[in-house]
């Protein structure tokens, strides 16, 4: 068994993914995506892949978030373009 911690992480991951998909605010989606990546790194540590976990914690939670933040800073924050 992967244990309750593993099941909880998977539920958290799915919840985060759905929130990222549903929210209309791109900045909020980026922040939730960072949390998602961090929990994904923990899951990989639980699955005995520490190299992947370190890389994901730095790349997924760090650099991808920064890339999205920069892109949002240079374009627009909301998804709706009614204005």
């Amino acid at each position: 068994m992967i244990g309750w911690f593993g099941v909880g992480s998977l539920v958290f991951l799915l919840t985060c993914a759905i929130i990222v998909a549903r929210t209309r605010d791109l900045l909020a989606a980026t922040i939730v995506f960072a949390a998602y990546s961090l929990v994904m790194a923990m899951t990989w540590q639980q699955l005995r892949a520490p190299d992947v976990a370190i890389t994901e914690a730095a790349l997924g939670a760090g650099v991808t978030t920064l890339l999205f933040l920069l892109a949002i800073a240079r374009t627009r924050r909301t998804e709706d373009e009614s204005a």
Binding site: M1, I2, G6, V7, L10, L13, L14, A17, I18, V20, A21, L26, A29, T30, F33, Y36, S37, M40, T43, W44, L47, R48, A49, P50, D51, V52, T55, E56, L59, G60, V63, T64, L67, F68, L70, A71, I72, R74, T75, R76, E79, E81
Partner: protein, 122 residues
């Protein structure tokens, strides 16, 4: 026939569901940045699936002791970890390139909406 065994493979199921959520995001949202986010979720879903394939209960991470592999102990599959490590780095460079294209597109057209871009073209 889909059996109930599906729910005993929670990690595989979660990977597939993340893939589907990402795919749905990519298909239904008009905003380009949201599409890139959906692509990232798809990728992590696939990575979760692949790392889960390599895992086995009661195993160690594939880092040996100084004297070589310990007899009688099993390790997780290092091949899948190596492949996923490669994939993560490629995913980030794909994201970076896509976002730089999107920023340039916004400079040129002033919109991130795919439908508006279609109208602008015609």
């Amino acid at each position: 026939m889909i059996s109930l065994d599906l729910f005993l493979r929670l990690n595989y199921l979660a990977g597939i569901m993340l893939f589907l959520i990402g795919l749905h995001t990519m298909l239904t949202h008009a905003n380009l940045i949201k599409k890139v986010m959906g692509m990232n979720i798809m990728e992590t879903g696939i990575f979760l699936f692949m790392v889960s394939i390599g895992y086995a209960h009661g195993t160690l991470s594939p880092i040996m002791r100084r004297g070589g592999p310990v007899q009688g102990l099993t390790y997780t599959n290092p091949l899948l970890a190596a492949t996923v490590l490669t994939g993560i780095v490629i995913a980030v460079s794909t994201t970076a390139y896509a976002l730089s294209l999107i920023v340039k597109l916004y400079e040129q057209c002033g919109t991130l909406d795919v439908d508006r871009l279609e109208k602008l073209r015609s």
